[in-house]
C-alpha cells in the first residue's frame, strides 16, 4: 500500500479520538503533584521473591526492601564500604576470620529483631541453597558470641566484606520467614529491614513499595513514601510514560532518544557507569578459529569505536578485557586491541587464509538485546572487509545459551554475551566464569582451555583478601595472556542513562548496584 492511502484513515481516526476525548472531558496524563508517590517504569520482572534464592532482575525491588551487612561505595570513594546492618567490622590478618558488629535496635518488617542469630540464619541459608550460593564457598562456620556480634570463619582467605555487600545472596532476612520455606515468599511477601516493604505485587504488571515507618534510617524530608513500579518491557512505551508524566523515572529508554531528554529542562539525565560488559567469544574448538592467528586477526577486525558509537549510541566505554572499568581487578595499563584491518589481513595470510579465503563464520546473539542487534551487523561488515563472511543468528538468549552449551563442535563460531559480575570482584567472577577451563561449558563459551591462564587466576584468587596488589598483579598477567591468545574480544562496558523528572532529586550512580535504584535516597523537590 502506498502512503497517501494511509493518511485519510489516520486523520479520520484522530478526529474521532478528539471527539471522544471531548466527551469524556479529560486531558492527558497524570499530574503527580503530591510528591509522596514515586512512579517508575522498569523492565525488572520478578523471578523469585525469596531473597535467598534471588539471582535475577528482582534485585531492583529487593535492594529497597532488604539490606546486607555492608554497602559498597562507588569506585573512587574515600571509604570502600559503608555500614548497612553492620556498624563496624574487622578481619584477622589472614582474612579467614571476619567479625561484624551489628547495628542495635533494628527490627524486621514482621516485627522480629535483627540480631546475630538472624544474620547467621540468613547467611547460612544463602550459602546452603541460595541462588548465588557460590559466593560463600569459602565460608566454614558462623559464630555468634553475643546478640550483636557475628564472626565468620572461612576455610580459605576471602574478601568477606566484598561478599557481604553483594546484591545477590547476602540479604539479611527475618528467621521467622526463612523457616516458612520457599512458597511463603511467592506472592510478594517480604521480611527485610529496608526502608520499604512490598505492599502489592501483580506479576509482570506492577509492584508497589510502601515506607516502613520504623526504618532505622528514618524518614526525613520529602522522601517518597510510596513507590509504584510499572513493569514495562517496551522501551518506547517507557518513553511515552515518562513524557506523559505517568512516571517520574524510566529505567530503559530507547537509547537513541535519550539526547532529547538532555535538552529538556524538565528532566535530568545522569550517565551511570555499570559493571555490565559485552564480550565476543570465539569458538576455539573447531575449524579455523583453533588457530590463534585467525583469532588475533578477527579481534583486530572488530570496529570497537563504531560499536560504542553506533551500537551503544555512545553509552559505553571501550573495554580492556573482561574486567569492567572500576571493578577489581581492572587494569588501566592493559593494552586495548587496536582496530587494524591491515594487521588482520596480514595475520590471516600468515594463517593460510589469504584474503580471508573461504572463511565463513556464524555469529549468534540475543535477539531481545537491542544493543547486540545494533552492533552485530557492524562486526559482519567489518569482517567482510578482510574477506571473512559472517552469518548473523539472532535468537532468544535462553535458546542461544542452551545451544552454545550443548556441543561446542556444532555450536556457533562467535557468541556475543552481555555479562556482569555477581559482586564487585570481577577477578573471581568474570575472569573465572568466562575464560577459566571447565569440563562442561557454562559461561566459558569460547570453550578455551589454557593451563597458564588457569594457574594465574587460581593463584590470584587466593590473594584477593590478604594482598590485593599481589592478586591484581596475577590477574593482570592472566588478562595479558587472554589478550595474546584472543579466545574472545572485549567490546565495551555499558553505561546506563538514568532519566528522571527533574523534580526528583538526590540520585547518585553506584556501578556496584547498577540494577537497582535506592528509592529512599531520592527526594521530591520543586524544579
Amino acid at each position: 500500500m502506498t502512503t497517501p492511502r494511509r493518511t485519510p484513515a489516520a486523520a479520520a481516526l484522530v478526529a474521532c479520538g478528539l471527539l471522544l476525548s471531548a466527551c469524556t472531558g479529560t486531558d492527558s496524563g497524570a499530574d503527580n503533584g503530591t510528591g509522596q508517590i514515586l512512579n517508575v517504569a522498569t523492565t525488572a520482572e520478578v523471578t523469585t521473591w525469596n531473597p535467598v534464592k534471588s539471582f535475577s532482575t528482582e534485585v531492583y525491588y529487593l535492594s529497597n526492601v532488604y539490606e546486607p551487612l555492608l554497602w559498597m561505595n562507588p569506585p573512587g570513594s574515600k571509604e570502600r564500604f559503608r555500614p548497612a546492618l553492620a556498624e563496624r567490622w574487622e578481619s584477622s590478618a589472614d582474612a579467614r576470620t571476619w567479625t561484624f558488629h551489628l547495628r542495635k535496635g533494628v527490627t524486621f518488617h514482621d516485627g522480629e529483631p535483627m540480631n546475630a542469630a538472624a544474620v547467621k540464619a540468613s547467611l547460612e541459608a544463602s550459602a546452603k541453597d541460595g541462588g548465588a550460593a557460590f559466593i560463600w564457598s569459602a565460608l566454614d562456620t558462623i559464630e555468634t558470641p553475643d546478640e550483636h556480634t557475628v564472626v565468620l570463619k572461612l576455610k580459605s582467605p576471602a574478601p568477606a566484606d566484598m561478599i557481604a555487600s553483594s546484591m545477590y545472596g547476602a540479604w539479611i532476612v527475618s528467621p521467622k520467614a526463612l523457616a516458612k520455606g520457599e512458597d511463603y515468599f511467592a506472592k510478594g511477601v517480604d521480611a527485610g529491614t529496608g526502608p520499604y516493604r512490598v505492599s502489592e505485587y501483580q506479576a509482570k504488571k506492577r509492584v508497589v513499595l510502601k515506607a516502613y515507618d520504623k526504618y532505622w534510617g528514618g524518614w526525613k524530608g520529602e522522601r517518597y513514601r510510596t513507590v509504584v513500579a510499572r513493569i514495562t518491557a517496551e522501551p518506547t512505551a517507557q518513553q511515552q510514560m515518562l513524557e506523559s508524566g505517568q512516571v517520574d523515572y524510566a529505567g530503559s529508554l530507547p537509547l537513541e532518544n535519550v539526547a532529547r531528554f538532555k535538552k529538556d529542562k524538565g528532566y535530568t539525565v545522569t550517565e551511570c557507569p555499570t559493571f555490565t560488559s559485552h564480550t565476543a567469544f570465539f569458538n576455539t574448538t573447531k575449524g579455523p578459529l583453533k588457530n590463534v592467528k585467525v583469532r588475533q586477526a578477527l579481534a583486530q577486525a572488530i570496529p570497537y569505536d563504531d560499536i560504542v558509537k553506533v551500537g551503544a549510541e555512545g553509552f559505553g566505554a571501550r573495554a580492556r578485557g573482561p574486567v569492567p572499568a572500576g571493578a577489581f581487578p581492572y587494569d588501566a595499563q592493559l593494552p586495548q586491541t587496536p582496530y587494524d584491518l591491515e594487521a588482520a589481513r596480514r595475520l590471516l595470510t600468515e594463517a593460510g587464509y589469504e584474503g580471508g579465503k573461504g572463511l565463513k563464520l556464524t555469529l549468534s546473539y540475543a535477539a531481545e538485546n537491542a544493543q547486540q542487534a545494533k552492533y552485530a551487523p557492524l562486526i559482519k561488515d567489518s569482517f567482510a572487509k578482510v574477506g571473512v563472511t559472517v552469518e548473523l543468528q539472532p535468537i532468544l538468549f535462553n535458546q542461544q545459551w542452551e545451544k552454545a552449551k550443548a556441543d561446542p563442535a556444532t555450536a556457533q563460531d562467535i557468541f556475543l554475551l552481555m555479562y556482569w559480575p555477581t559482586y564487585s570482584d570481577a577477578g573471581s567472577d568474570n575472569l573465572v566464569s568466562l575464560f577459566r577451563s571447565s569440563d562442561k561449558p557454562f559461561f566459558n563459551l569460547s570453550y578455551w582451555k589454557d593451563a597458564t591462564y588457569d594457574k594465574f587466576v587460581d593463584e590470584a584468587g587466593t590473594h584477593t583478601a590478604t594482598d590485593q596488589d599481589k592478586a591484581a598483579e596475577l590477574y593482570g598477567k592472566a588478562q595479558r595472556r587472554l589478550l595474546e591468545q584472543a579466545p574472545g574480544a572485549f567490546l565495551y562496558d555499558m553505561r546506563t542513562p538514568v532519566v528522571m523528572n527533574s523534580q526528583v532529586k538526590g540520585f547518585a550512580c553506584n556501578p556496584n548496584y547498577s540494577f537497582s535504584i535506592p528509592f529512599h535516597q531520592l527526594r521530591h523537590g520543586a524544579s
Binding site: 469524556t24 479529560t26 492527558s28 497524570a30 523469585t48 532482575t57 550460593a133 514495562t232 535462553n398 545451544k403
Partner: protein, 338 residues
C-alpha cells in the same frame, strides 16, 4: 437444534485438543531450557538441574503432554515459570483488560462502520463513497502496531492529548481506586459512580480501541455498503419511494434492517481476528491484557503461560464461531440440518 449444537461442540473440542497438542510440541522443540527462566540466567548448573527435575522437564514428551492435559481438564493450567503464579489465575486477571479493549473496539467498528457504510451506499461513486472506500482499505491493510505508534505520535506526541499508555492514571489507583466488579475499568467506574476514574479509564481506552477497531471497521464498512446497495435495489424500497416515504426512513429503518444480518456475521468473525490484533496493540499501548502476557511469556520462554494464552485464544475463537453459526442457523433455516 440440540443435535446440531452437540455436533458443533464435539468438533470444537477436537479443535481445542489439536491446538493444545501443537502448541505443546512447538513449545518443546525449541532448543531452550525453561528451568533457566525459573531460576534466572546466572544460576549454577546444579540448580538448573534440580529445577529441571522438579518441573518434570526430564520426563518423556508424551508423558509431559498427558499430565498437562489431565491438569488442564481439572482446572490446573500449570504454574507460570516466570512468575510462579497459577496460569489460570493470571489469565483471569488479564482477561477483563483484553475484553474491555476488544469490546470497545468492536463497538466502535460496528457503530462507525455501519454509519459510514450506509452513507457510502446512499451516494455510490461520489466523493464520500471514495473517502469511505479509502478509509476501509487503509483500516484493513495498515498493521495495527504501526497505526498504534502513529496515533501515539500524533495525538499524544504532537497534540498533547490523551494518555499514550496504560489503563488508568497510576495516581488514581490510590486517590480514587476502582472497586472491581466486572474487571472492566470503565464499566466498574460507571457502576460505582467513580467519575474521576471513569474519565481516566475512558481516556486511556480511546487510542488502543481505535487502533484495534481499524481492521473490523474497514470490513464492516465495506460489508454494510455492499449489502445496503443490494437492499436499496429491492422492490419494496422502490415502492416505498414511489409512495413518498421519506428517504431517511427508507435507508435507516427499512433497508438497514435487511442489510444488517450479514454485517453482524462478519463482525463476529472479525471479533475473533481482533483478539489476535489485540496482542500487538497491547504491547504498543502497554495495556496489561492477555496480549502483553503472551508477548512476555514468549520472550521468557514461559511455556505454561504461552500455552494458557493460546488455549484461551482458541476457546474464544471457537466460541465466537459457534455463536456466529448458531445465529446464522436461527436467521436462515437452510443452514440448519434436519
Amino acid at each position: 437444534m440440540p443435535r446440531f449444537l452437540l455436533r458443533r461442540l464435539r468438533g470444537s473440542l477436537l479443535v481445542l485438543l489439536g491446538v493444545s497438542a501443537i502448541t505443546f510440541l512447538l513449545a518443546r522443540v525449541i532448543p531452550s531450557n525453561p528451568a533457566l527462566t525459573y531460576v534466572g540466567a546466572k544460576a549454577t548448573p546444579e540448580e538448573v538441574e534440580r529445577v529441571t527435575h522438579a518441573l518434570g522437564l526430564d520426563q518423556p514428551l508424551p508423558v509431559q503432554y498427558l499430565s498437562y492435559l489431565r491438569n488442564v481438564l481439572t482446572g490446573d493450567w500449570g504454574t507460570s515459570i516466570a512468575t510462579k503464579q497459577p496460569v489460570l489465575g493470571e489469565l483471569g486477571d488479564r482477561l477483563p483488560a483484553t475484553l474491555e479493549l476488544v469490546g470497545a473496539a468492536m463497538a466502535v467498528a460496528l457503530v462507525l462502520g455501519v454509519t459510514l457504510g450506509c452513507i457510502a451506499a446512499v451516494r455510490p461513486g461520489r466523493l464520500i463513497d471514495q473517502a469511505v472506500r479509502l478509509l476501509s482499505i487503509a483500516g484493513v491493510s495498515v498493521p495495527a502496531f504501526w497505526l498504534g505508534l502513529l496515533l501515539q505520535l500524533l495525538v499524544f506526541g504532537r497534540l498533547g492529548l490523551l494518555p499514550p499508555t496504560g489503563r488508568i492514571d497510576s495516581d488514581l489507583e490510590f486517590t480514587a481506586p476502582i472497586h472491581s466488579i466486572t474487571g472492566l475499568n470503565t464499566v466498574d467506574a460507571l457502576l460505582t459512580g467513580n467519575g474521576a476514574a471513569l474519565a481516566s479509564a475512558a481516556a486511556h481506552l480511546i487510542l488502543p480501541a481505535l487502533t484495534l477497531a481499524a481492521y473490523p471497521l474497514g470490513v464492516v464498512a465495506r460489508m454494510t455498503r455492499t449489502s445496503m446497495l443490494e437492499a436499496l435495489q429491492q422492490d419494496h424500497i422502490r415502492v416505498g419511494r414511489a409512495y413518498g416515504v421519506p428517504e431517511r426512513t427508507l435507508v435507516w429503518r427499512v433497508a438497514l434492517r435487511n442489510a444488517l444480518p450479514p454485517t453482524v456475521t462478519v463482525l463476529g468473525l472479525t471479533a475473533a481476528y481482533a483478539l489476535t490484533g489485540a496482542f500487538f496493540v497491547e504491547v504498543v499501548f502497554d495495556w496489561p491484557g492477555l496480549g502483553q502476557y503472551a508477548a512476555s511469556g514468549l520472550l521468557s520462554l514461559d511455556y505454561p503461560a504461552v500455552m494458557g494464552v493460546t488455549l484461551i485464544g482458541a476457546i474464544a475463537y471457537v466460541l465466537v464461531n459457534l455463536a456466529v453459526d448458531l445465529v446464522h442457523a436461527r436467521l436462515d433455516p437452510r443452514v440448519r440440518p434436519a
